[in-house]
């Protein structure tokens, strides 16, 4: 019995979310009195792999295979499934990011293992194995019981604190005999923006809505985000109008994010938008209308004209940085 974590890599590097997964797995392993193995698929160097040990991994399995360079859900599920069996995993942890969403369900059927999808905390009970997750787009929570011997959990990003345990772990290069017939996804072209902070990785997000009135008014939002080291986002009408790129749309059918700080400027707070940001640790709203629904979910608010409030806020941040 062990806990297996699958973490992807980004150009050979891990991210904060990788360490969140290992810390989470480590805590569960503690509850089950067992150990954590981590599986990495891809070209990751030894030093990077070893870093996983610091968060509680005792075995680090590295599978390198040319045919697995890009995600083929069926092939990845086969690899992770086989490793899960080899490591006698009773709990398998993946992220609830796009890769986890693609692979976890396939793994579930392959291993006949129930899934707790998008969980944000440790199991509340081991027997029955019960996990807590948001449902109805954050309007409620459910206690889900997983009734199978093997359980698969996908962890919501930024919902579990990283804990360094100071372990040292052995990195094992794991030769894997891949059935190439499983790899059916052919990548013909890739368009990627490197170097830019991803919205889903940002701990601080500054977001604008229709209340900003025009694409021309965005400079102060961008400046505030830059000063705070955060990313910019927007509501759906803003991306529909073409004021901001589609990638910035946060909301029910856009990106669902959970940053430490979400600053909503000129956003009224429609249910579909809030569904995308309600898991944020702290929501601040700036809006002209004191009755805007966004103030029902915000922890802090300023009632005022965004174009008048933002310059003052930018100055205040600059002053705070000087201290």
């Amino acid at each position: 019995m062990s806990v297996l974590v699958y973490t992807e890599n980004w150009d050979g590097k891990f991210k904060k979310l990788s360490y969140e997964l290992v810390s989470y797995a480590s805590a569960i392993a503690g509850m089950l009195n067992t150990t954590v193995s981590v599986l990495s698929i891809g070209d990751v160097d030894a030093a990077e792999l070893e870093s996983l040990g610091r968060y509680g991994a005792s075995r680090i399995l590295s599978v390198k295979n040319e045919n697995l360079k890009s995600l083929d859900s069926q092939a990845y599920a086969a690899v992770i499934g086989d490793i899960a069996i080899k490591t006698d995993a009773s709990v398998i942890i993946l992220s609830n990011n796009n890769t986890g969403k693609a692979v976890a369900p396939r793994l579930s059927v392959k291993l006949k293992a129930g899934v707790g999808a998008g969980v944000s905390g440790l199991p509340s009970s081991l027997d029955p194995f019960t996990v807590y997750k948001r449902v109805y787009s954050g309007n409620a929570y459910a206690n889900v019981v997983i009734n199978t011997g093997i359980k698969i959990l996908t962890l919501a990003q930024n919902s579990f604190e990283i804990v360094e345990t100071g372990n040292k772990a052995e990195v094992e290069d794991f030769p894997y005999d891949l059935n190439q017939d499983l790899v059916k996804t052919l990548v013909r072209d890739v368009q990627k923006q490197t170097g830019k902070l991803l919205l889903t990785d940002a701990e601080i997000v500054v977001s604008g809505g229709r209340g900003m009135k025009s694409a021309d008014n965005w400079a102060p939002l961008v400046e505030l985000a830059d000063l705070l080291g955060g990313a910019t986002a927007c509501s759906r009408p803003v991306s529909d109008e073409g004021w901001r790129p589609h990638e910035e749309h946060t909301g029910q059918t856009g990106k669902i994010i959970a940053p430490d700080l979400y600053i909503a400027v000129g956003i009224s707070g429609a249910t579909q938008h809030i569904a995308g940001v309600s898991a944020s640790k702290c929501i601040v709203a700036i809006n002209n209308d004191k009755d805007a629904p966004v103030f029902d979910v915000a922890k802090y608010g300023i009632v005022g004209d965004a174009m008048k409030v933002l310059p003052g806020l930018i100055e205040a941040v600059k002053n705070a940085k000087k201290d």
Partner: protein, 248 residues
């Protein structure tokens, strides 16, 4: 090419959800709609059919649910789906639903199966991938575009910081997200009239377990009231965020 669009029946997003004492959704007053992601999925399927009449033979919707779901299935037909299939069963869990839908696919040999990446009720993101594994078909998730070029399917997948253009052989399960269609298609009067005579084929479920169950629901903790800060004292907000919330 025959397209199957899987749809689920969910409470409208603005619903204030409530639960009964025996841990079930209180359905009084709920407006039921097609899951928003599935609606976009269906829209794209119909756009593809309209633009490629020789290539796409039909668009069928499939749903696992009781007879009370039929009004939502009719909406899908009114929007433009050619036929509908309802598996007569409660949605015990994603694994159970996926097993039923896999049987529907096998029975009629669909080429492209489209599923929304998430449903707004359980936010599980699992049915599509599970179906694909039951069927041993390839699947692609986070699909933000499906196009037909020279009779072949071209899939756009969102990746961190960008997108990939993919070719994947049929039969294929495409798990679609935002971007797949700009706006959900609306049922026109004519569509609504025609939907009345389109068939909803009834299928009995195959035997399959559920692997998970919801033991209970909880409402989120009551939010503290918003603390307002004077618009000419932004420094106060910055101080709080830095020293109290410690988020900057």
């Amino acid at each position: 090419m025959k397209i199957l669009v899987c749809i689920s029946n969910v409470p409208d997003t603005t619903t204030r959800v409530k639960f009964t004492d025996d841990n079930k959704l209180d359905t009084t007053g709920i407006q039921w709609v097609i899951n928003p992601w599935d609606e976009l999925s269906l829209t794209r399927a119909l756009e593809l059919k309209d633009a490629n009449p020789g290539v796409i033979e039909s668009v069928t919707v499939a749903h696992v649910g009781p007879v009370s779901s039929e009004p939502t299935i009719r909406k899908a037909l009114a929007i433009g789906a050619d036929t509908a299939i309802r598996v007569n069963a409660e949605m015990h869990d994603a694994y159970f639903v996926a097993a039923q839908l896999a049987e529907v696919v096998k029975a009629d040999n669909f080429d492209l199966i489209m599923c929304g990446i998430e449903s707004s009720d359980f936010n599980g993101s699992t049915v599509g991938g599970m179906m694909a594994e039951f069927l041993q078909y390839p699947s692609v998730s986070a699909v933000s575009g499906i196009n037909i070029e020279n009779g072949d399917l071209s899939i756009t997948r969102e990746i961190d910081g960008g997108k990939e253009l993919l070719s994947v052989p049929l039969p294929l399960v495409a798990i679609v997200q935002k971007g797949i269609a700009r706006e959900p298609r609306i049922a026109a009067m004519r569509g609504i009239m025609m939907a009345r005579s389109k068939p909803i084929k009834l299928v009995e479920p195959v035997e399959e377990e559920a692997l998970t169950e919801i033991a209970s629901y909880e409402m989120p903790a009551k939010k503290e009231a918003c603390r307002f800060i004077d618009s000419d004292k932004p420094g106060e907000l910055v101080d709080i965020l830095q020293n109290v919330e410690k988020v900057i």
